[in-house]
């Protein structure tokens, strides 16, 4: 029996956050088994970033044929899952919803336009995916510098290709895939500057397992076609700079001391992807540094149940949050689907061991890729007047000065400098600042403390919040800090 008679009733059995491959796969299996599922996603349609715009492109048929051909079979492969997702009518899909809070008791705060509110479910599946690794280099805030994922979004959902001189810098499969997609659309990059070296790939060979062979062959195919097309390629790039006054005009790249300058109108950068930890961290997850990935991950139990960090929380009781897909562990689309199905099997308490085996197998290729294409653009820490915090325009020298003066707590530096206090809430500077501090202290990087709302929430939306828990609107304490439980 609930401790209070006016406790709000759950809105669903499961709330799934993210309608990418993991979220779609989980919600289809859960809904087909009779569970009431609400799916929230920021974007206007299902698919996540990997299958972004796929539904609309398929609906256009022959008109979008050339685009679909250029995007390739791995993109079109999402069609079956999207169809299954749309075809499962009992799924309550709510696109255009930004989630700004998740609590471990199953409460989820949402924002759509200027409306906001809370929903509740017995379980929450966090399938909010990945983001591209932040890459602070001189000039990275100039108009015309974009991530590979951003340009892919323009391709998939904007149906557009770049014009003029396009330079690509970074590492990882996405770099080759994007360059090959450009090639098919008749766009010839003026430079493909790679940070990885042959010795990275050779060193990664012992990690190669049979399930990785198809993706390896695919990658080799992209590379061979790029070489055939005569696209200029540099390897072992140790540093880059974007040059320009009000927009990018050239890419400078260093290989050791050797400098090359290439004029360009668009500079596409990519340094691999890392899990989005914002929602998990806001929900109180224990955040761990993964040295191999050079990124943070939320701690989870074997089957994906989020592990809360010790300390105060707004709510008590068991953790009702499960993590899935790239948000839990980077693996790409196929692994994310297996991950989504596994989370559903766990929640339905059926056949977890089979789905766990499929998930493990689907994650195997990643071990090779991680070693073969290690972080490059972000490998060395920024210095001097290179921007670290894009929002507040704080450079490395200023932060370095604070660290050397003895400020070695990341939250203290946030308070002193405003680094991480802009609208992106530290998404693009936290890892850099934390690594700068770690370089001094020798301890593992620690992120900013994160409290909800983890995304900007208009005051008008907050004032008219729907679905509030009446228990939490009563003033029961004058402390401004969260307390464990509500019965204080």
């Amino acid at each position: 029996m609930p401790p209070f008679p006016d406790a709000p009733k759950p809105d669903a059995d499961v709330i799934v956050i993210g309608a990418g491959p993991a979220g779609m796969a989980a919600s289809v299996d859960l809904a087909r088994a009779g569970r009431r599922v609400i799916v929230l996603d920021m974007q206007p349609g299902p698919g996540g970033q990997i299958y972004r715009g796929l539904e609309a492109n398929l609906a256009e048929g022959a008109a979008a044929g050339a685009l679909m051909t250029a995007l390739g079979p791995a993109y079109a492969a999402g069609a079956d899952l999207i169809r299954a997702f749309r075809g499962t009518e009992s799924i309550d899909f709510r696109p255009g919803h930004t989630v700004w809070e998740v609590r471990r008791d199953g409460t989820v705060g949402w924002l759509q336009g200027t409306k906001a509110g809370y929903l509740r479910a017995a379980h929450v599946v966090l399938a909010n995916g990945a983001m591209e690794r932040p890459v602070p280099f001189p000039g990275w805030t100039l108009p015309g510098v974009m991530t590979a994922g951003a340009v892919q979004t323009l391709l998939k959902a904007g149906q557009m290709k770049p014009l003029g001189r396009v330079a690509i810098a970074g590492t990882g499969p996405l770099v080759f895939l994007l360059a090959d997609q450009f090639r098919r659309l008749g766009v010839r990059p003026v430079m493909l500057a790679r940070t990885d070296r042959l010795r990275d790939q050779i060193g990664a060979l012992p990690r190669l397992r049979l399930p990785a062979v198809p993706s390896l062959a695919k990658g080799a195919g992209w590379l061979a076609r790029l070489r055939l097309a005569g696209i200029p390629m540099a390897r072992g790039v140790t540093g880059i700079e974007a040059v320009g006054a009000t927009k990018v005009e050239a890419l400078r790249l260093w290989r050791g001391r050797q400098l090359t300058e290439v004029a360009c109108d668009l500079l596409v950068v990519h340094d691999g992807v890392v899990p989005s930890i914002d929602l998990a961290q806001g929900a109180g997850a224990r955040i761990e540094w993964n040295q191999g990935l050079q990124a943070w991950q939320a701690a989870t139990e074997e089957d994906g149940v989020m592990v809360p960090a010790p300390g105060a929380s707004l709510v008590d009781g068991p953790c009702r949050i499960l993590m899935s897909g790239d948000a839990r562990q980077i693996g790409g689309a196929e692994a994310a689907m297996a991950h989504g199905r596994h989370v559903a099997a766990v929640l339905l308490a059926q056949g977890q061991s089979a789905s766990r085996t499929r998930l493990r197998k689907s994650l195997l290729p990643r071990r090779f890729l991680e070693a073969a294409f290690p972080p490059g653009l972000s490998a060395s820490l920024p210095t001097g007047n290179t921007t670290v915090c894009r929002c507040e325009e704080i450079d490395a020298a200023g932060l370095d000065g604070l660290i050397r003066a003895g400020a070695q707590d990341i939250d203290q530096i946030r308070g002193l400098s405003r680094c991480g206090m802009g609208p992106c809430q530290g998404r693009h500077c936290a890892v850099t600042l934390a690594r700068m501090i770690a370089a001094q202290t020798g301890r593992a990087p620690v992120p900013f403390r994160a409290r909800p709302p983890v995304r900007p929430l208009p005051l008008a939306a907050l004032a008219a919040l729907a679905g509030r828990d009446p228990r939490l609107t009563e003033i029961v304490s004058l402390d401004d800090k969260p307390v464990v439980g509500v019965d204080v």
Partner: protein, 99 residues
């Protein structure tokens, strides 16, 4: 900087700083403005420097614009609508929502 791969069939019209821009139904404000080649979505509150979208998936907040008088809207997450009025966001959004 960008050109359509697929012709825009029945465009809707949005306005950026008074300039009419054809948009594809269902696309985001950011995609449409990138195709139109606007030189900046916003000027930063600190240095006044120009910014264009960086990530396009809702993380970087460099695509902030003023939409229908409401400042600090993420152009990469808001869908276009016929007659929508968008302005470059100059610095921080003011009290009352406008830029």
């Amino acid at each position: 900087m960008f050109a359509s791969v697929v012709p825009i069939g029945h465009p809707v019209t949005i306005h950026f700083d008074g300039r009419p821009i054809p948009a594809r139904e269902g696309e985001t404000v950011a995609a449409c403005l990138m195709r139109a080649g606007v030189p900046a979505f916003r000027r930063t509150p600190v240095s006044g420097g120009p910014r264009l979208p960086y990530c396009m998936i809702g993380h970087c907040f460099d695509c902030l614009v003023e939409i229908e008088g409401q400042g600090s809207q993420q152009a990469c997450l808001v869908g276009v609508a016929e007659g929508m009025r968008i302005r470059l966001q100059n610095g921080a959004a003011g009290v009352g929502g406008g830029a």
